[in-house]
Amino acid sequence: MGEVILDVDNIFKSYNNGQNNLEVLKNFSLKVIEKEIITISGQSGCGKSTALNILGTLDKPDSGTVIYKGKDVNKFNEKELSLFRNTKIGFVFQFHHLLYDFTALENASIPIWIKDEPLLKDHILNLFETLDMGDRMNHYPSELSGGERSRVALIRAIINKPSILFADEPTGNLDEKNSIKLVDLLQQINKDYNQTIILTTHNPYIAAIGHRQFILENGYLRK
């Protein structure tokens, strides 16, 4: 068994609109082991994105801890959080969120720019070739198809070789063909680069790719 890289313990999260208190996550606990794919499925609005946002430090829980390799990420200061997001995790969203003023290559390179390290051209080219985007590197997002944009977003998320890749409904905005292609790529990345992946989806077929599969229902996470 591999090393536990993310230990999520007893997370509670609720939203209050002034009148009602909506409890989204209750006693959410999860141990993420390196090199595995974890899928979390559930109906729309069940709190999958909230859980991923908390795990990925984009949101804070009401209570509970998120421990990354022995360090509580909720105790990181702003600078440590930025460094953590840049080097240890990668995100893929339902919408690609590419920067429209930058080419595919530039979009994918931004995390390296932020890291302030020299561009490893071979690594980038290899990723573009692996994801079948070698001839689209210098195109702007507006010149790419939906599937291609998603693949660029995927390259961007893993360019800094993060410990964990968070994929929040990555196929939610794609047609079936492109969805299958993207899921295949995620599996390939997991296999080729030993990339740990946590993926949320409402599609049971996609959830099936997980080495461990969870369902989020009524705020509780169960196998």
Binding site: L58, D59, L83, H97, P111
Partner: protein, 388 residues
Amino acid sequence: MNWEKIISDRFYDHSKIYGKYLSILSMLGMGVGCFAIIISISVMNGFEDIVHGKLKGFEGDIRIYDNTKDIIWKNLEGIESVMPFMERKAVLEKTDNKKVVLIKAIDEEKMLSFYDFSLRGSVPKNGEIVIGQDLAYRLGTDMGELISVYSPIDQIVGLSSPFKRQFIVSGIFSTKVLNYDDQLAFITIEDGRNIFSRKKMIDGYDIRAKDNYSITMLKNNIKKMVGSEISLLSWYDQNKSLVNAMKMERYATILVLCLIFLVSTFNLAMNLSLISVQKTSEIGILRVMGTSESSIKKIIMKLGFKRAGLGAFLGICTAIIIILIQRQFSIIPLPTEIYFMDTLPMLIHIKDIFLVFVISFCFIFITSFFSGRKLAQLNIKEAIQWVK
């Protein structure tokens, strides 16, 4: 790699297409602000320089009330020339017109080399007087005509009418500064001794300093020699209220013109807000990728400086070019009957350009900093869900 600059530049290019007019406005506003301040300061500098020159030209750089014959400081380094003088209020009379003026008795041989003013006619010899242009007009006299002069304070008390001396008007001067042209007349020292019969000696000396020699230093050196009992005044001391009023006017003008900066700052703030709205989701994703708050601030500040800073730079450059052209070719004339010069005077110092640069920098910095800070503190989760 200066990646913040790359992102800022791309956002800038994007905003040139979307929000083009607001972008031009904020650039124009800052440019106009800098241009207006530089031009205004240069015109005030120009006028100040001319007025100061006229004052110094008419009174000398330093006045010393030292009536000793053997002046010990005469050969001090920095002294160009020295003019002895006696002065007293007296009455000038031409037929029924009378006017109380200040009569200044001077060494007529040095008059033209020491004083710097426009003189029609010739310097006074004994029995002659040089009067101001406005005074001549009020008395209704002209060159070659006779006028009577008497000093009431020097009259012997009695019932007889005052003793008047007749003078021929040998010259008429014009300064167009303060009320000199209306209030002053020159005669020779010898005539002065005759009219101001109660005065036994001269009042003191006007001193002209050598070019580029510090007047303050010369004043201090003389003071060291003569001691503190003898009154010593620089041209600035003699015209303190006027010089200070001009300084105040300059500060007030800069302050008022800063309002243009303030308005252009609003434009810049609006422009950066527009970009913030357009780029919210992209800022969100940059934060997801690990961009720190300080980097987001830098990106927005670079954007603000690129836009408004360019405007400020162009404004300053345009103003400097206009000043240089005006100084070289005098393209903006002034009516000589109103002003004492025929062309708009413009003079700019490096420190003034630096001042405008600092003011514009502060305005741009404050606006960009707060816009950047607001954007950097956006909730990441909400930012990436932002739909334009």
